[in-house]
């Protein structure tokens, strides 16, 4: 159903590189995806796989002089290519159309200003409301994110609030201008589990209420299962699988996705002495990427072809995307021989 609608954000061939002392390194390579109105897109992957860089490239929050965004990269939003938009154009998009919340609620609010002041500032910048209206709106937003006693809270400093409260305030600030897209960069990672659930419920509720699309970046598959409509799995700067959440969990195509899913601890499923299945090895360094498939060294199903050729992003019969020569659902399993020359 979602395919019929026009996507609100189209990302095509996104390539982000950084200039470093050791030369140019590409953190996000050829990433393409769509965000549809009112949906929640999850972006999942291990640390350092390019999730946050993707989000920050969309917002253009990376240090300009150290970042190279590829020539053919396109981030289409309302007819503008954000990948190469001017700072002036970006400023009208940020906050107003696309908002972002961050991982660390402890440092996301400016410690020297009151909560109300920080909400008021965003409203002042993006709306034409009067002073009194802005104050009312600020209280209303805090009430919307279920902060008790909001009239009192606007007069408090960030250090007087708990981590969960602060993340709620961040969400309130991000949503106060009613953006079309909310990019949430690991919004619950720094919170404890009960607060995580509350924040996720809150985001889900607000999405329905305000009809905002959410791009949720996380490494927590539990969070994905709870709130996302579609999921995109990233590995070493590339999208390796993209599917609706239910199908991804039930029937992963890429061996990496499968391995990720099997490394989630299951309640009651493990007996004493069993080891939690883990993916052996580490993510390849972006400096020394292999020629073929980037997951080859850690893959249980490696073939000679995986070493020689990097797979393209393919589309399955039911419209799912994957980047693998031997997708899991075709049940192609040829174990790698000991003599097989794979490095």
């Amino acid at each position: 159903m979602s395919q019929i609608r026009e996507p609100i954000l189209k990302v095509r061939n996104l390539k982000t590189s950084f200039r470093t002392d050791r030369g140019v390194v590409t953190a996000v390579d050829d990433v393409s995806f769509d965000v549809f109105p009112g949906e929640t897109l999850g972006i999942v992957g291990e640390s350092g796989c390019g999730k946050t860089v993707t989000a920050k490239t969309i917002m253009r929050l990376l240090p300009e002089h150290l970042t190279i965004v590829g020539e053919e990269s396109r981030i289409e939003f309302e007819g503008v290519n954000l990948a190469h938009a001017s700072p002036g154009q970006m400023r009208t998009v940020r906050g107003d159309k696309i908002a972002m919340i961050f991982q660390e609620p402890m440092t996301s609010l400016n410690p020297v200003f009151k909560v109300g002041w920080q909400l008021d500032e965003a409203l002042k910048y993006h709306t034409k409301l009067g002073k009194r209206e802005r104050r009312d709106k600020a209280v209303e937003m805090l009430r919307l994110v279920e902060i008790p006693n909001p009239e009192q809270r606007v007069k408090e400093y960030p250090h007087q609030l708990s981590g969960g409260m602060r993340q709620r305030v961040m969400i309130a600030i991000a949503l106060c201008c009613e953006p079309d897209i909310l990019i949430a960069d690991e919004p619950t990672t720094a919170l404890d589990v009960t607060i995580q659930a509350q924040i996720l419920d809150l985001m889900n509720g607000l999405k329905e209420k305000l009809n905002t699309s959410i791009m949720l970046i996380t490494h927590d598959l539990g969070v994905v299962a709870q709130v996302c409509d579609r999921v995109q799995v990233m590995y070493a700067g590339r999208v390796i699988e993209s599917a609706p959440v239910r199908e991804l969990f039930h029937n992963p195509i890429h061996p990496y996705t499968k391995a990720l899913l099997s490394s989630i601890p299951k309640a009651g499923g493990v007996t004493r002495g069993d080891k939690l299945p883990a993916i052996p090895g580490i993510v390849p360094s972006l400096w020394e990427l292999p020629d073929g498939c980037r997951f080859q060294d850690r893959c249980d199903y490696k073939q000679q072809r995986c070493v020689d050729v990097e797979p393209d992003l393919a589309e399955s019969k039911d419209g799912r995307l994957y980047r693998c020569h031997f997708p899991m659902d075709e049940r192609v399993r040829v174990t790698v021989g000991a003599t097989d020359g794979g490095a």
Binding site: L61, F102, L109, N110
Partner: protein, 470 residues
């Protein structure tokens, strides 16, 4: 309401409990009040320049030797005599005018010949004082003759005693010679015994004459009473320097100079250093290279040398060096020297802090809301360096005052106006004559201010340091 909240905040309550800090605050407040008072004319530049006392008069509780008192009486006598002769020879027989001429000639601030009497009355009193001084002069001559004689005999005895000792030590010793010498010493001792009572007598006569003269002079030129007396008491409380100028007035006027230099330097340097340091860290790239290049260049030169050079550059300008006519502008070279060199420390500290702050997520969050870079820098980042600005302000304030004193001591700082540094510089030669009032008052005033400021800034840090609040 807001102020009330701030007053009752946790940090303020902690600060108010700290008794030492409150004392320091009171002292700084008193200094500030005096500085403002001086600014509004409580003490004028003229007050610090005119003579209030005889040369090198000690202040309160300081005792003077009789020799110094004789010198003072002589000096006052000369003043009165010349004043009287000028006033009497005046062709116009206008009393008011004569009194003015007389007092101008005496020239001792509030201590004047009272004009509530007829001129002839005043003349009579002054003449009595002059006559009394003549007696003192005679007694003095007498005393000096006898003292000379007494001294000469003592000297001779000492010489002979040395000869005796030498003769005894010689090998072989000459017993005849020793006996001869000893006989001579006995003779001299008898002579001394005759002179000694005479000396005592003449000393007593001189002291009596001195007291009489002083009383007569006081009669002619009485100590002021009432409000003028109180002012004169303050003025003379710390004595007078080598030109009879009031040390108290100079020290008090220097408070204003010190505060002026401290405030201007601290404010300019904190603002400049914070703006440059924050911009360097926030924008990076060539802005950072540029600012850090200047900072490195400035900090590679010994700061005192740099201060002196900058001070010299400015002192060639007739606009800034005309201290007598434009005392305000005369300080500009000092401001320039301090402002151009002292911002470096603040700049470096703020740069480091902003380096840290700009990586924090609220800066990115502000960017994600859509604010411009400049707005984020000055509205979100710089307020977070407020604690550094306060600490640097208090450090620079004190640093500037101390440097001002050093430069003035080297005669490169304040000119044409009093300054603690100039007082120490002028007074340093008198220290060898056991006259400490100049140096001690300047050092004392500065010491109390610096100590109070250090105590207060320590207490402020204790009370408001976010690491201790919570």
């Amino acid at each position: 309401m807001k102020l009330g909240q701030a007053w009752n905040s946790r940090g303020m309550r902690k600060l108010r409990r700290n008794k030492l800090a409150m004392v320091a605050l009171a002292i700084i407040g008193a200094y500030l009040a005096v500085a403002l008072g001086v600014m509004f004319g409580l003490v004028t530049l003229e007050d610090t320049r005119e003579r209030a006392l005889p040369n090198q008069t000690p202040g309160l509780f300081g005792s003077q030797s009789n020799d110094k008192r004789v010198l003072d009486a002589t000096w006052l006598n000369d003043r009165l005599a010349s004043g009287l002769s000028i006033a009497s020879s005046s062709s116009q027989a206008d009393d008011e005018r004569r009194f003015r001429q007389l007092n101008d000639s005496v020239g001792m601030a509030e201590r004047v010949v009272p004009i509530g009497q007829s001129f002839s009355e005043a003349t009579a009193k002054i003449e009595a004082a002059l006559a009394s001084f003549e007696l003192l002069d005679e007694a003095l001559l007498d005393y000096e003759d006898i003292e000379d004689e007494h001294f000469a005999i003592e000297e001779e005895i000492a010489e002979l005693e040395a000869d005796v000792a030498a003769a005894r030590a010689a090998e072989p010793s000459n017993a005849d010679e020793i006996a001869e010498l000893e006989e001579e010493i006995v003779g001299l001792r008898e002579e001394l015994a005759e002179v000694s009572p005479l000396l005592e007598e003449s000393t007593a006569a001189r002291d009596a004459a001195l007291l009489e003269t002083e009383a007569a002079q006081l009669e002619a030129l009485p100590m002021p009473s009432g409000f003028g007396g109180a002012v004169y008491a303050v003025r003379t409380s710390l004595g007078g320097d080598e030109g009879g100028r009031s040390i108290a007035m100079k020290a008090i006027y220097s408070i204003k100079i010190a505060f002026q230099v401290g405030f201007v330097t601290a404010i300019v340097c904190v603002l400049l250093g914070t703006a440059l340091g924050a911009a360097a860290a926030f924008y990076g790239g060539w802005v950072d290279y540029g600012v850090m290049f200047i900072v490195s260049v400035f900090s590679s030169i010994p700061s005192l040398v740099l201060l002196v050079v900058i001070r010299y550059i400015f002192s060639d300008s007739p606009l800034f060096d005309n201290a007598a006519e434009r005392p305000g502008l005369a300080l500009v070279p000092v401001y320039a020297a301090f402002c151009l060199t002292f911002w470096i420390g603040t700049c470096r500290v703020v740069r480091g802090e902003v380096m840290k702050l700009k990586e924090l997520e609220y800066v990115q969050a502000a960017q994600a809301i859509g604010f411009g870079r400049m707005y984020i820098l000055f509205k979100h980042v710089v307020p977070n360096t407020a604690h550094l600005m306060f600490i640097n302000f208090s450090l620079l304030f004190i640093g500037a005052i101390k440097s001002e004193v050093i430069l003035s001591f080297l005669n490169l700082g304040v000119k044409g106006q009093p300054s603690w540094g100039l007082m120490i510089s002028n007074g340093k030669n008198d220290v060898t004559k056991f006259f400490f009032w100049d140096v001690l008052s300047a050092t004392g005033f500065m010491f109390v201010l610096v100590l109070a400021f250090n105590i207060l800034s320590d207490a402020l840090q204790d009370a408001f340091d976010p690491k201790h609040v919570g």
